[in-house]
C-alpha cells in the first residue's frame, strides 16, 4: 500500500506535469530544430512566434466565447487553434519575405541571421504587447480536470490523489497527433522528402531540381503551426503571458541542442529529458520518501535538491554537459 501511495504521489507531482511540460517543450524544440535544419540558423524569435500564435488563439477564443460558442468540456481554445495557426503562418511568411529572404539570397553567415532574428524578436514582442498588453490573460474554459484528486482517492481508496488536468491530457494528445502528422509528412510525402534532402545536403538537393524557396516556405508553415500549437498548449496549461514565452527560449533551445540540432527525433527526446530533469531536481521529494522509507529514516527537510527558481539552471547545466561531451547532441544532429 505504501509503495502504491508513493507511486501515485510520484505520478501526481512529477510524471504527469513533466510529461505535459515535456510535450510543450518538444513541440517548441521541433520548430527550432526544423529552422536550424533547413534555414541553418538559431531562431531567437521562436519564443515570440509562439507568443504571437497563442495571442491570436486567445483573441479568437474570446470572440467565440462572446458569440456563445464553446467546445463542451474541452477548452474553446482548441476551436480557435486553426485560426491562430493561419494567423501565425501569415506572420512568419511575411517576415520571411520582408526580412530573411534578403539574407538568404546574399548567403549571409549564420551569425548574421541570428542577429536578424533578434530584430524580429523585438518586433514580434512589441507587436504582441501592443495588441494584447504585457499582462496575464486567462482563456481556458471547459472542464478543469480529467480526474481530480478527490475522485481518484474515492475510486481507489488510496491516501494519495492523482489529478490530471484537462489541459495536461489535451497537451499530450495534441502533441502526439502533431508529431505523428509531422513525421508522416517528413517521411512519406514527396515534399517532406525534399525537405529532408535539402537539410542533408543543400547542393545535391538543388542539383536534383528541388525548389529551395518552396522548401523554405513549407518549413515556415510547419514551424508556425508547431509554434502556435506549443504556445496555446503552454498557455492553457499555465497561463498566457508574453514575457514567459521569451523565457521559454532557453529550455527550448536546450531541448533542441541536447537532442541534436536539426534532428526531429532528438528534439522530442530532448524536450522530455529537459522537462523531467527540471521537475525531478526541483521537486520536494519528502512526500514520496515518507512512504518508501521506514519511520526511523524519515527525512526532516523537504529533500528538494534545488529550489524551483533554479529550473533554468537545470536545463542549462544539462545543455552544457551535453555540449562539452557530445557537441552534436544525443541523437546525431548536424554541426555547421
Amino acid at each position: 500500500m505504501d509503495l502504491l501511495n508513493a507511486l501515485v504521489a510520484l505520478a501526481n507531482f512529477v510524471i504527469v506535469p513533466a510529461v505535459a511540460y515535456g510535450s510543450q517543450l518538444a513541440l517548441g524544440a521541433l520548430g527550432v530544430t526544423l529552422i536550424y535544419g533547413i534555414l541553418r540558423f538559431s531562431n531567437f524569435a521562436h519564443g515570440d512566434t509562439m507568443a504571437f500564435g497563442a495571442m491570436i488563439a486567445v483573441l479568437v477564443t474570446w470572440g467565440l466565447q462572446a458569440a456563445g460558442i464553446t467546445f463542451g468540456p474541452l477548452p474553446t481554445a482548441l476551436l480557435a487553434l486553426p485560426f491562430a495557426i493561419l494567423g501565425c503562418i501569415a506572420l512568419v511568411l511575411i517576415t520571411d519575405r520582408l526580412v530573411y529572404r534578403f539574407y538568404r539570397d546574399q548567403k549571409a553567415k549564420p551569425v548574421i541571421l541570428v542577429i536578424v532574428s533578434m530584430g524580429v524578436m523585438f518586433i514580434m514582442n512589441g507587436l504582441v504587447r501592443f495588441i494584447i498588453g504585457p499582462d496575464d490573460q486567462r482563456f481556458s474554459d471547459g472542464a478543469r480536470f480529467v480526474i481530480s484528486a478527490r475522485d481518484f482517492k474515492a475510486l481507489t481508496g488510496l491516501d494519495e490523489g492523482l489529478a490530471i488536468k484537462t489541459s495536461q491530457g489535451i497537451t499530450v494528445i495534441v502533441a502526439i497527433v502533431a508529431v505523428a502528422l509531422l513525421f508522416w509528412f517528413l517521411n512519406k510525402t514527396r515534399t517532406g522528402k525534399s525537405m529532408r534532402a535539402y537539410s542533408d545536403n543543400e547542393d545535391l538537393a538543388l542539383l536534383s531540381g528541388i525548389n529551395p524557396e518552396r522548401v523554405v516556405m513549407i518549413t515556415w508553415i510547419i514551424v508556425a503551426a508547431l509554434a502556435t500549437t506549443a504556445g496555446v498548449l503552454y498557455g492553457l496549461d499555465k497561463s498566457f503571458k508574453p514575457f514567459v514565452y521569451f523565457q521559454l527560449l532557453l529550455p527550448i533551445f536546450a531541448s533542441a541542442i541536447v537532442g541534436g540540432l536539426g534532428n526531429p527525433i532528438g528534439a522530442i527526446a530532448g524536450g522530455f529529458i529537459i522537462a523531467f530533469s527540471e521537475v525531478t531536481i526541483t521537486y520536494a521529494w519528502k512526500k514520496v520518501l515518507v512512504y518508501l522509507l521506514p519511520d526511523s529514516l524519515e527525512p526532516s527537510g523537504l529533500v528538494q535538491l534545488l529550489s524551483t527558481d533554479y529550473k533554468f539552471a537545470v536545463s542549462f547545466v544539462i545543455l552544457l554537459i551535453v555540449l562539452l561531451f557530445k557537441p552534436t547532441g544525443l541523437f546525431q544532429g548536424k554541426a555547421v
Binding site: 524580429v120 533551445f253 527558481d309 533554479y310 555547421v336
Partner: protein, 437 residues
C-alpha cells in the same frame, strides 16, 4: 565629405537631439539621458570589444551588468551587525567546499583512466560533495537571513567608498566571465550565444533568490553616493551659497540641486568613458588588436600562423565582460539601489546589441554614438508614440474602446521601434553609422 566631418556631424546631431529635449521637455530629462547614455556607451564598448574585435557572440551582457551591481552592494554598504559571526563564515566555507567538489570532480575526470570506475568516482564525488555543501550551507543561510529580515537579512558589504566598487564590479564580472569562457568558448558561435543567454538568466536567478547575498527581491536601498564628487540634494538646499548661486541662474533650489547632483554623476561617468574609450582605441590600433581582427576574419589562418585562438578569445571575453561589469556598477550607483527583478534581457542585453550594431560594430566611436542615439530613442519613443496615438485617435469618440487601447499601448512602441531600427540598419547599412576602418 571626409569621415571626420561626417562623424562629427553625427555626434552633433545626437547632441542636438539631447539639447532639444532639454529645451522642450526638461533639463532633468536631458541630463538623465546623458547619464544613462554614458553608461550605455561603456556597455557598448564592452560588447564591441567582444563582437567587433573578436567576433564573439555574447548575449549574456545582462548577467555581467547585474554582477557589477552586486559588487556595489558587497563593497559599499555597511556590514550587517552579527551576520558574519552568525553564518557568514559558514557560507564562505560552504562555497569553498562546493568549489572543492567541482575541482575534485574535474581532477577525477582528468586523472583517472577512462571507464566505469571513472564515471562512478565522478558521480560519487559530486553527490557526496553536494550533500556536504548543503549541510554546511543551509543552516548558515538560515542564520544570516534571520537577522532583522525587515531591513537586513543579508551579510552586507565592506563599507568602503562606492567608487572602489566600480573596479570591483569589473573584477567580479571578469571572474565570472573567466569561468564561463573556460567552459563555453570552445563552442560554435550560436551555441556560445545560447550558453551566455542561459548564464545571464542563472545569475539573475541567483541574485533574486539568495537573500543572504543582497536581499534578493527585497532589494537593497540607500547605496552611498560617491562623495565628495556627488553630494546629496538636502545638503545642497541647506547650503546658503548654493541657494544664492541657483537664484542667480534663475532656478529654485530644489531643481538646481537635482540638476547639480546629476551633473556630478555625468562628469564621473564621462571620465570613466574617456579612459575606457582611450584604452579601447589603443587596443584596436595595437598589434594585439590587429591579431584579434585577424582571428575574427579567419580563425583557421590565424591558428596556422601560430596564434592561440582559444586563449585570445578567453582574454577578450574576460576584458569585454569586465567593462560591462564596471558599467553595471556605475548604473547601480546612479540608481542608489539594487533591484534584481529590474534586469530584463531585452533591456540589458539585446538593447546593447542594437546600440553596437547601429553604431557600427568594430568601431569604438560608433559604439558610443550608437549608445547615445539608441538610448535617446528608447526614452523618447514613448512620448512620441503617445503623441502619435493622440493624433491618430483625435477623431475618435472619447469612450471608444479602440481609443483607450491605442493610448494604453503606446508604451509598447519601444520594442517594436528598436527591432525596426535594427533590421533597417542591418539591411541597408550593415556596417553601421560609423563603419570600421
Amino acid at each position: 565629405m571626409s569621415d571626420t566631418v561626417k562623424n562629427t556631424l553625427l555626434f552633433a546631431v545626437v547632441a542636438g537631439l539631447i539639447l532639444v529635449t532639454g529645451f522642450m521637455q526638461s533639463w532633468n530629462t536631458a541630463i538623465l539621458i546623458i547619464n544613462m547614455g554614458l553608461i550605455s556607451a561603456i556597455m557598448a564598448i564592452g560588447v564591441n570589444l567582444q563582437w567587433g574585435f573578436a567576433g564573439l557572440f555574447n548575449v549574456g551582457v545582462m548577467g555581467f551588468v547585474a554582477l557589477g551591481g552586486l559588487a556595489v552592494v558587497l563593497v559599499s554598504t555597511p556590514p550587517t551587525p552579527g551576520a558574519w559571526s552568525a553564518g557568514g563564515y559558514g557560507i564562505v566555507l560552504a562555497l569553498l567546499l562546493g568549489a572543492a567538489t567541482v575541482v575534485a570532480a574535474v581532477m577525477a575526470a582528468r586523472k583517472l583512466p577512462k571507464g566505469r570506475t571513472q564515471t562512478l568516482a565522478i558521480i560519487a564525488i559530486l553527490v557526496v560533495g553536494f550533500f556536504v555543501y548543503r549541510a554546511v550551507f543551509d543552516p548558515s543561510v538560515a542564520a544570516v537571513e534571520a537577522i532583522d529580515p525587515a531591513v537586513a537579512g543579508n551579510i552586507g558589504g565592506l563599507n568602503l567608498p562606492v567608487l572602489l566598487a566600480w573596479p570591483a564590479g569589473g573584477l567580479l564580472a571578469a571572474g565570472a566571465a573567466w569561468l564561463i569562457g573556460k567552459t563555453a568558448l570552445g563552442l560554435r558561435s550560436d551555441y556560445l550565444a545560447i550558453a551566455t543567454l542561459g548564464i545571464a538568466e542563472i545569475i539573475i536567478a541567483i541574485m533574486k533568490n539568495e537573500d543572504w547575498l543582497a536581499r534578493g527581491v527585497k532589494n537593497v536601498y540607500g547605496i552611498p553616493r560617491p562623495t565628495p564628487f556627488v553630494g546629496y540634494e538636502i545638503d545642497l538646499q541647506s547650503d546658503p551659497s548654493f541657494v544664492e548661486r541657483a537664484a542667480g541662474l534663475g532656478l529654485d533650489p530644489v531643481t538646481a540641486s537635482t540638476l547639480w547632483v546629476k551633473t556630478g554623476y555625468a562628469f564621473l561617468f564621462l571620465v570613466v568613458l574617456l579612459v575606457l574609450l582611450w584604452m579601447a582605441q589603443m587596443a584596436l590600433k595595437s598589434p594585439w588588436g590587429r591579431m584579434m581582427r585577424a582571428i575574427r576574419d579567419n580563425e583557421v589562418a590565424a591558428e596556422a600562423m601560430g596564434k592561440d585562438v582559444t586563449r585570445r578569445h578567453l582574454q577578450i571575453f574576460v576584458l569585454g565582460s569586465a567593462i560591462c561589469g564596471i558599467a553595471g556598477a556605475m548604473m547601480t550607483t546612479l540608481d542608489g539601489q539594487l533591484t534584481p527583478s529590474a534586469y530584463q534581457p531585452l533591456r540589458f542585453t539585446f538593447l546593447v546589441w542594437v546600440m553596437v550594431i547601429v553604431g557600427g560594430s568594430g568601431n569604438n566611436f560608433g559604439s558610443v554614438l550608437g549608445a547615445f542615439l539608441i538610448w535617446f530613442l528608447w526614452v523618447q519613443v514613448e512620448p512620441i508614440g503617445l503623441w502619435l496615438m493622440d493624433l491618430i485617435t483625435a477623431g475618435m469618440p472619447d469612450d471608444s474602446a479602440i481609443k483607450t487601447h491605442l493610448l494604453d499601448s503606446a508604451a509598447h512602441m519601444r520594442l517594436f521601434t528598436m527591432g525596426l531600427i535594427l533590421l533597417i540598419v542591418l539591411r541597408f547599412s550593415p556596417r553601421g553609422l560609423i563603419p570600421e576602418k
